[in-house]
């Protein structure tokens, strides 16, 4: 696989196929779908963080105009929503897995927990009726704090989870780490909070359940990143609908960032209710509802210690983390702080001994699960803050300290002490390129210039690695995954030579319809416009795992390559027959089959036609038709990495931090469409800047109320909060997949937060501020400056 110079091929910034429909308002998002006779669902949610449901009186509500049906926990007769990953504690015991019913039976466990489903002729009528439901609650004490959840006296979320502990897990060689610390020259310690975030895809979740009495078939339209996973979880575990009677369609989806991976109970509710009321039932979340029902992200509290020798070489690392699961276990929640987080603690460094322990706790908050980066931003933030602090403490230059400890370019494949084996990378080059593009050398002059204007300027760096394309299935299975993590791809060559591509991945902004068409068009030599990519409908595509963890190209694209290998192998035999040659002598290049050393050739299109009109055809040896499917199970994770540099300017009078410049140099392996790749990095970096400076899910400690439940309170990055971003790549190829691609969806959100905070702390160094928590809001920065000032004055 190499760039071919083809203007619509691999390596070309082809304009997107999907844009015309989106730009003209013709996208079809779930809420745009109207099924004939559809009724509207409204979900009555708990106003309390923790309470007993004493009584629900629906009599008055049921009599209201336009009410089709009202269901409560007592009516719901199907299963709970399952968790997809099982973690075992240090002592070998399995994690505590509480039941999660779509409608609460006797107790609510977070603000937003589901109490009743109201179905009306219109949404307004359903809403009106919901307001007339009288629920008597007995309020209970609530716990929301990650740090305090396992402390004695904390309110208990689940009877089976003693001290609110879901699991207490560890990884690594504790004895080796303790021994290394014993002989350390210097130990750097840090406490890190990775705050809770709301993913906030701009399209709120929605789901339509539809039931066909004639065939007994159910259809669920849903805002999902992985329709097959939803079909499997909901069909097999929740509603007991066999898969051949259940179709799940994820049409155009307006962003996911992880939050639309999970099987949500609303999906089960509308599907279940559709059969009950014998009408399609549509539910659409509003934004306030999204804040109290979409799985949230991050929420880790950690303590970390790094042991260094006298030259600044890292000897050992130990990390202890508490991870908040929320009130219920969302689909992949348990793997985020464990196998997606702790396994990356080597980072880009040669640290020989690492030990991590992770305690997962239940609280009276919305469930927490994967959000862009899932576990890897948490680890990267912790490591890069720690390394920065070590540099300050030892007096070694922060760039030099990183270089000293980088895994050398010739050390790959590199086995880390925490399970992963990195296949390729070049951290020195991504660092050097980033330093140059960011004009690191010229920074002190800019700092001095800013100082003249009364501003505090700082520069920060992060060098990171992440693991993508989660796999191989056998490995993740042994680590607790209850699913395989391969991907499928089908190539259907039509008689006239055009091609439909079926992929199990799902595009919700990533532009697969374009990228995959480039890959297929270039490989098969058919025009770009003759390739259509189909995804998101379980009735059309083979069983696929969907899109998350930056896996679509590395895993899904590889499946397509495997399917195309089969197509080319078969087509070669057909072509050989047509040219009366031996298949061994036939070559395929630029959409043409030719016999080596002769001028005989036949175009791909003619071979396709012959496959479907097999008049002159090796029919005794070959089946007609030209359509192939492949399932690709990766051999390893992929390891994108790179260097992010951020420059900020702080106004000490207001505490406002302005990002003056951001440079991202990433190693993502083979690139199919550079324009799309850059867009992915831009978006990820701005989410990372959002985490560093603006965003936070704040809960009130006493009442358990979410204080940031709308865009009035939760600060989303807006156009005037962020700068334009300098993006470059320096790519080494993934060595174990046929494309060499590593994945790009998450790098921006992983590398950026520590770069921003390291820059903020660099800016605040002259005024004596040594630590700050995310988000570094103006009030926090201002207060830090004030208290550092009064501490100085007191000295």
């Amino acid at each position: 696989m190499a760039d071919t110079g083809n203007p619509t091929g691999i390596g070309a910034s082809v304009k997107r196929k999907e844009d015309f429909r989106f730009l003209t308002g013709q996208g079809t998002y779930t809420d745009d779908i109207k099924r004939p006779g559809q009724a509207y669902a409204y979900i009555l949610r708990s106003p309390h963080a923790h309470a007993e449901i004493v009584k629900i009186d629906t009599a008055r509500a049921k009599a209201m105009p336009g009410v089709v049906a009202i269901f409560t926990g007592a009516d719901y007769d199907k299963g709970g929503v399952p968790c997809g990953w099982q973690i075992h504690s240090k002592d070998g015991s399995p994690m505590v897995e509480p039941p999660h019913f779509p409608l609460c039976k006797d107790r609510v466990r977070h603000v937003g927990d589901q109490v009743a489903l109201v179905i009306g002729e219109s949404l307004a009528q359903a809403r009106d009726a919901a307001e007339a439901i009288a629920v008597t609650y007995k309020e209970l004490p609530a716990i929301v704090s990650t740090a305090d959840a396992d402390k004695p006296g904390a309110a208990q979320v689940w009877p089976d989870a003693k001290n609110n502990t879901c699991f207490d897990w560890h990884l690594g060689d504790k004895a080796a780490v303790d021994a290394a610390f014993a002989k350390a020259h210097h130990v750097t310690k840090i406490d890190i909070v990775n705050q809770r975030l709301a993913p906030n895809a701009m399209e709120p979740r929605a789901a339509i359940g539809d039931y066909d009495r004639a065939t007994g078939e159910y259809t669920l339209y849903t805002t999902s990143q992985n329709p097959h996973v939803i079909r499997l979880l909901m069909g097999a575990f929740v509603l007991q609908i066999p898969e051949h009677k259940l179709r799940v369609v994820a049409p155009d989806v307006g962003g996911g960032f992880g939050s639309k991976i999970f099987h949500y109970s609303e999906e089960a509710l509308v599907t279940w209710a559709a059969a009950k009321v014998r009408r399609p039932v549509k539910w659409t979340s509003d934004r306030s509802e999204a804040f109290i029902s979409d799985a949230q992200g991050r929420d880790h509290v950690s303590h970390a210690e790094l042991a260094l020798d006298k030259d600044g070489k890292f000897l050992a690392l130990r990390v202890s983390t508490k991870a908040n699961m929320g009130a219920y276990l969302s689909t992949f929640a348990p793997c985020v702080p464990t196998y997606l987080s702790a396994t990356l603690l080597a980072g880009v460094y040669t640290t020989p001994a690492i030990y991590a322990e992770v305690k997962a706790v239940f609280t009276n908050t919305v469930a927490v699960d994967a959000y862009r980066g899932a576990g890897r931003p948490e680890t990267t933030y912790l490591l890069e803050r720690l390394v920065e602090k070590a540099a300050r403490e030892t007096g070694i230059d922060r760039v030099e300290l990183r270089r000293k400890n980088f895994i050398p370019k010739d050390a790959f494949p590199y086995q880390t002490p925490v399970a992963l084996q990195y296949d390729s990378g070049d951290y020195f080059s991504t660092l050097d390129i980033a330093l140059k593009r960011a004009d690191w050398a010229g920074f002190e002059a800019r700092r001095a210039e800013a100082k003249k204007r009364g501003k505090l300027r700082g520069i920060g760096i992060s060098t990171y690695i992440e693991a993508c394309g989660i796999a191989p299935s056998a490995v993740v299975g042994s680590l607790g995954a209850r699913a395989g993590l391969y991907e499928c791809g089908s190539i259907r060559v039509h008689p006239t030579g055009s091609v439909t591509v079926f992929t199990g991945t799902h595009s919700h902004g990533q532009g697969h319809e374009t990228t995959f068409a480039q890959l297929v068009s270039d490989t098969l030599g058919v025009p770009f416009d003759s390739v259509e990519v189909s995804h998101g409908d379980t009735n059309k595509i083979p069983f696929g795992m969907g899109t998350y963890g930056s896996r679509s190209l590395a895993v899904g694209g590889s499946a397509l390559v495997k399917a195309m290998d089969k197509i080319i192998a078969k087509a070669t035999r057909i072509a050989a027959h047509l040219m009366e040659a031996s298949a061994a002598d036939v070559e395929f290049k630029n959409g043409e089959f030719s016999v080596k050393g002769t001028d005989k050739k036949v175009p791909f299109g003619q071979v396709a036609l012959t496959a479907y009109v097999p008049h002159n055809y090796p029919i005794t040896e070959l089946e007609p038709g030209l359509e192939e499917t492949a399932f690709y199970d990766p051999l390893n994770f992929t390891y994108p990495g790179g260097c992010h540099i951020c420059e900020v300017e702080i106004d000490p009078d207001t505490g406002v931090t302005q990002v003056a410049k951001f440079t991202a140099v990433d190693d993502i392996g083979r690139v199919i469409n550079p324009m799309i790749v850059e867009g992915q990095v831009h978006g990820g970096v701005v989410q990372g800047i959002g985490q560093a400076l603006l965003e936070n899910c704040a809960y009130d400690n006493e009442s358990g109320q979410l204080l940031t439940g709308s865009y009035m309170d939760y600060t989303m990055p807006r156009a005037d909060d962020v700068p334009s971003i300098d993006v470059a790549t320096h790519n080494t190829m993934c060595t174990h997949n046929p494309l060499g691609s590593k994945g790009v969806g998450e790098v921006g959100a992983i590398g950026s937060p520590p770069a921003v905070i390291n820059a903020v702390l660099d800016a605040l160094l002259p005024v004596g501020v040594k630590d700050i928590t995310m988000p570094a809001t103006p009030v926090k920065v201002w207060q830090a400056i004030q208290s550092a000032g009064s501490a100085k004055a007191a000295e």
Binding site: M202, G254, R287, E678, A719
Partner: protein
């Protein structure tokens, strides 16, 4: 129930609606113009932006009856056949959209923005789009698209 009459994308429409019906729901539910999106419930995100009387308006923040008699343009009314409006074209050329959900509102706001002032700096574009949230693009390419769209609109 009150009757509303307005011109939407050049076509006269009229319907009986509940008085509380928001303009955005009127467009989406009654007229099936689902290109206008709803991204929030606090008039913060701009996904619902349309033009009313030639000005960008958050249609979630206006009742349908308030638009009685008005000229309304939605994202569906911008292109002429298959020929995109220069701003739409610029968004496509500069990859100013990913999932496409914020896009209709973003394009409608951008058109209004460049109409109000021809020669906008990057900072002015960023400030001008402050009422539209995009979670996908990081705004980088949206800004480039608006710059290009402004130039193309001027040249038209």
């Amino acid at each position: 129930m009150p009757t509303v009459k307005m011109t939407v994308n050049g076509k006269p429409v009229s319907a009986e609606v509940e008085a509380r019906t928001l303009l955005v729901h009127f467009l989406r539910e009654h007229l099936d113009l689902t290109g206008t999106h709803v991204g929030c419930d606090t008039a913060q995100c701009g996904a619902c932006t349309v033009h009313v009387g030639g000005k960008a308006v958050k249609s979630c923040n206006m009742l349908a009856v308030q638009a009685d008699g008005a000229e309304v343009t939605t994202i569906e009314g911008l292109a002429t056949g298959d020929t995109l409006h220069p701003m739409q074209e610029a968004f496509r050329d500069h990859h100013g959209l990913q999932c496409g959900f914020c896009t209709p509102g973003m394009v409608m706001s951008a058109i209004d923005l460049v109409k109000r002032k021809a020669d906008l700096s990057e900072a002015e574009i960023r400030a001008g789009l402050e009422g539209n949230i995009c979670r996908c693009t990081g705004y980088h390419n949206i800004v480039k698209a608006v710059q290009a769209g402004a130039a193309a609109t001027r040249g038209r």
